[in-house]
């Protein structure tokens, strides 16, 4: 091992030589790099959840002239430098390191999706770059204790019990669970089932399906024949559309209909299928314009720039995490990642969703909501307790007959 | 003990009996002719010997060993080499490499590449292809490609060489050269079985001849006996007897 140690010192010596030799370039802007899926299967997911929030934040920050950094005594505008990782994890890891090492960006934004977050977290951490998690997340991420990684989005750990609680409250007696054959599906599937059982709700069906299957009617028909009150599926958009579309086509109605990833998207789900069609559908989330004044402000800004409403699951989470991140930079007064990281890990700041802080595992916990339900075109938060913006609608109205 | 023996060799393609119950034997050092009209089963018999096809019934013995069912490469390594009716060379490989392949994988145990290339050059000299040794085999004339096939077969250092119509499609001078080469091969002590339609060559070169017709052996004997045999003439020339 000694020779490797020597080589590393030798390399740092060389690097320092080059760094000090070059005059400290006058800093005129903050460059944030992001390797994200602009093509390939995940591109649709990027578009539905989270992708635009980063663009909006940069747009709004630059409207105010940039972020004030005491070290440079002025506001620095922000530039977002994006690369397409083609939904390929190998390309993503290369491009992320290229942004850090070659393009020498100041900060990095996260790639899309759980598996990609898994790969990106240790790499960013290795180079001492803060990585605020975007869409995606799983219990397994906790096993990687990487100090520079902050998990923002909520997932099965908190949404499972809340959904079970809602089902118990409205009197659901039996449920059918279907889950996609991947990490997301398994974690949600295995989280929801024990939560239902703890509350005396009978799980009559618990089946996995392959991610790119073309026909899910067998599962729906089996659930219908079992006469369950509720149907809960841990799915991604393709599976979500199939479950919804096929239950409409087959006239299969459950008293409660829950999909993890899809209902939260106003343009992909509500606008594609129609407000009265999605009435009563529950989904992972959740927030809406009523959650807080800051939330309303986010919706208005988002609609102004993109002419569509933001995603009502992670939108407010990521937006607030970036506000928190900005306040940490302003407090640190410099672009030094170590200093900013320490502030982020320990400080609480006022953000769009209200007070925002990370727990000791650097997990964001003050979620604006866990489960949402479409009621008259609004994605109401129906969690029991203070966060609720409207009582759960149960039983769900039948799918409207539409010629 | 004959170098090659066939007992009741039979092969059917669908209903047609391509080769049925043929017994034959070839002595060491002999030039054995195999003649008969088209479709008589000559090439099928060759394919049975070299294991391109496996016989329906009957056995084939080489040097007393029953080789029915062996894989072609194994039979080659035991000392049986052949050429093909439709010539099969390695077109994009230079002539030299076509031949050296034989010496690498033939009967002789592990040959060093130096010995192998020496042997290949010697054989190329023997068949008269030395000056085109670097030309891709595909660019050769038909006659030269047939010689190349013989050279490749010789390079495997065989004891028995099956020649399948090496004179077909050649002009008179090329036929003469081919006959002269066969004699020189024979003088090296290699047993030969020749399928040939060029009667002049068969009559002059062969020690014994077997005649096949509709898959059956109808005659066997010295060239003189075969030339005079009523049955053979009838098969070849129909009713009218040859002058």
């Amino acid at each position: 091992m000694k020779s490797k140690g020597f080589m590393r010192i030798f390399v740092i010596a060389i690097a320092l030589f080059f760094l000090t030799a070059a005059p400290l370039a006058a800093k005129d802007k903050i460059v944030i790099g992001q390797a994200i899926s602009l093509s390939g299967p995940q591109a649709a997911g990027v578009d539905i959840s989270g992708g635009k929030i980063y663009e909006l934040w940069v747009h709004e920050v630059n409207k105010e002239g940039g972020i004030f950094v005491k070290e440079y005594g002025k506001k620095l505008p922000v530039e977002l430098k994006r690369y397409d990782d083609k939904t390929d994890i190998g390309t993503m890891t290369n491009l992320l390191e290229r942004l850090i090492l070659e393009d020498k960006v100041d900060f990095v934004f996260p790639p899309w999706g759980t598996a990609f977050l898994f790969a990106a977290a240790p790499i960013a951490n290795k180079y001492g770059y803060i990585l605020i998690g975007g869409p995606g997340g799983a219990l397994k991420l906790k096993e990687l204790n990487v100090p520079y990684f902050f998990q923002v989005l909520n997932f099965s750990e908190t949404q499972g019990p809340t959904l079970a609680e809602i089902f118990k409250e409205v009197g659901v007696k039996s449920v059918a669970v279907a889950y996609r054959g991947d990490l997301h599906g398994i974690e949600y599937g295995s989280a929801m089932v024990p939560d239902f059982k703890k509350r005396g709700i009978e799980v009559k069906l618990n089946k996995s399906y392959p991610p790119d299957i073309k026909d899910l009617s067998p599962i729906l028909k089996e659930a219908q024949s079992l006469g369950v009150d509720a149907f809960a599926a841990a799915c991604y958009p393709p599976g979500g559309f199939l479950f919804t579309g096929q239950s409409i086509e087959l006239g299969i109605n459950f008293k409660a209909f829950f999909l993890t990833v899809l209902p939260f998207s106003p343009n992909a789900y509500r606008d594609n299928l129609g407000v009265n069609v999605v009435e009563g559908v529950m989904g992972g989330g959740a927030w809406n314009a009523k959650s807080s004044p800051g939330a309303k402000d986010l919706v208005d800004k988002f609609v102004a720039l993109f002419k569509v409403e933001p995603d009502y699951w992670g939108g407010l989470f990521y937006w607030s995490s970036l506000q928190h991140f900005r306040k940490a930079i302003e407090k640190a007064g410099s672009l030094d990642q170590k200093k900013i990281r320490d502030i982020m890990a320990n400080e609480k700041f006022e953000t769009a969703l209200g007070p925002f802080w990370y727990d000791k595992d650097r997990y964001f916990v003050n979620h604006p909501g866990e489960i949402g339900q479409w009621q008259k075109g609004v994605f109401e938060v129906i969690d029991p307790g203070a966060k609720r913006t409207a009582p759960p609608l149960y039983p769900k109205p039948a799918w409207p007959k539409k010629k | 003990m004959p170098i090659l023996e066939g007992m009741r060799v039979t092969k059917h393609f669908g209903g047609l009996a391509a080769v049925s119950n043929v017994d034959f034997h070839v002595e060491q050092g002999e030039v054995f002719g195999l003649i008969g009209p088209n479709g008589a089963g000559k090439t099928t018999l060759f394919n049975l010997i070299s294991a391109v096809l496996s016989p329906k019934s009957g056995t084939i013995k080489f040097k007393g060993v029953d080789i029915t069912g062996f894989k072609p490469y194994k039979i080659c390594r035991m000392g049986v080499a052949r050429t093909f009716q439709t010539v099969k060379v390695f077109p994009n490989m230079p002539v030299f490499q076509n031949v050296i392949l034989g010496s690498y994988f033939g009967t002789l145990p592990r040959m060093s590449s130096r010995d192998a290339s020496e042997k290949a050059l010697e054989i190329l000299e023997f068949v008269g292809l030395s000056r085109v040794k670097d030309t891709p085999a595909g660019d050769l004339t038909l006659a030269n490609q047939k010689r190349l096939e013989v050279a490749r077969a010789m390079a495997t250092h065989p004891d028995l060489l099956l020649l399948d119509e090496i004179m077909a499609g050649l002009n008179p001078t090329e036929v003469a050269e081919a006959m002269e080469m066969v004699i020189r091969i024979h003088n090296r002590g290699i047993t030969l079985i020749m399928i040939e339609h060029v009667m002049k060559a068969v009559m002059r070169l062969c020690d014994r001849i077997m005649v096949l017709h509709h898959g059956q052996k109808i005659a066997e004997g010295t060239p003189r006996e075969i030339a005079d045999s009523e049955k053979v003439i009838k098969v070849y020339l129909g009713e009218k007897s040859r002058a």
Binding site: I48, E249, K402 | -
Partner: protein, 289 residues
């Protein structure tokens, strides 16, 4: 019990209809024009997106919009063959060489078409609901739009088969399929016929895309899955045999439906197991030559 059997049977046929249609298209492109079109799925995607635009922007009902989308996709296929593949065909010494090269060229096309689709329609998932109501058949319920899809797949499939076996152009195409060179000698303008076949193959893909867009959501990356299924059906039915692809499509649909009922996880595994067993046992497929 009967209902479940009926369920599986009809669900299988519904899927099979789409599979048959896209497989017939590919079988035409490969069987006749000797182009193993890896970008076949991209033509399906084009058909789907054109139908989506016509329906959401101008309210033209999918089956009517076929009259616009099909000729469009056909022309793209025809021109592509005339320019790119004809040149490739001329410059390749052997058919095997041409098959290899055209397959790789199709891979390039796949990238290009997908990128153009993302640029013009964006990457997000799109969809529309049309005839999305249940129809009751002997006690089992099925979606109307899927039944229409099956109906259209059968109509187009058989109409196309009649076209091939009855009309003069159809005979010319089949002759070209047997032996392009010989057909050429018989006075058939080969490069025109082959381009026609490639265009017709693309047309079938476009129709397949329209029918798929009626029951599923669409996105620019949807193509490759359907190309894989078409390839499987091609082998199951027998390479280059149009009726083979038609039968193979329904067969695969049925198998998929049965396996999905028993163990949904294994549906796609089953496809590939059949595909590979058939390749080993009978490469020429059920009705292959």
């Amino acid at each position: 019990m009967i209902v479940t059997v009926l369920d599986i049977l009809i669900a299988g046929l519904l899927m099979g209809g789409i599979y048959a249609l896209i497989a017939v298209g590919l079988s035409l492109q490969y069987g006749v024009a000797r182009v193993l079109n890896i970008a076949h799925g991209e033509f399906i995607m084009l058909g789907a997106f054109i139908t989506w635009s016509l329906y959401t922007a101008f309210g033209i009902v999918p089956l009517v919009s076929l009259a616009i989308s099909s000729p469009l996709v056909f022309t793209i296929g025809f021109i592509l063959y005339k320019t790119l593949f004809t040149r490739l065909r001329i410059s390749s010494p052997s058919v095997a060489m041409f098959e290899g090269k055209s397959m790789l060229a199709c891979f390039g096309l796949l990238f290009m078409i997908q990128n153009i689709a993302i640029l013009s329609w964006g990457a997000e998932i799109k969809g529309y609901s049309y005839l999305a109501f249940p129809v009751n058949i002997l006690g089992a319920k099925f979606a109307a739009n899927r039944l229409i899809t099956l109906g259209f797949a059968v109509v187009f499939g058989s109409a196309f088969y009649l076209f091939l076996s009855r009309t003069r152009i159809g005979k010319a195409i089949r002759a070209a399929a047997q032996d392009a060179v010989a057909a050429g000698l018989m006075g058939i303008n080969i490069s025109w016929v082959l381009a026609l076949c490639f265009g017709l193959g693309a047309l079938m893909a476009g129709i397949g895309g329209t029918l798929i867009s009626m029951s599923y959501q669409i996105q620019p990356t949807m193509g490759l899955e359907y190309t894989m299924i078409a390839l499987i059906v091609l082998v199951v039915g027998g390479l280059g045999s149009i009726p083979g692809s038609f039968v193979g499509g329904f067969l695969l649909g049925l198998v998929g439906s049965i396996v999905t009922y028993v163990q949904p996880g294994l549906a796609l595994v089953a496809y590939y197991v059949i595909f590979m067993l058939l390749l080993l046992a009978k490469p020429t497929g059920i009705l292959g030559r």
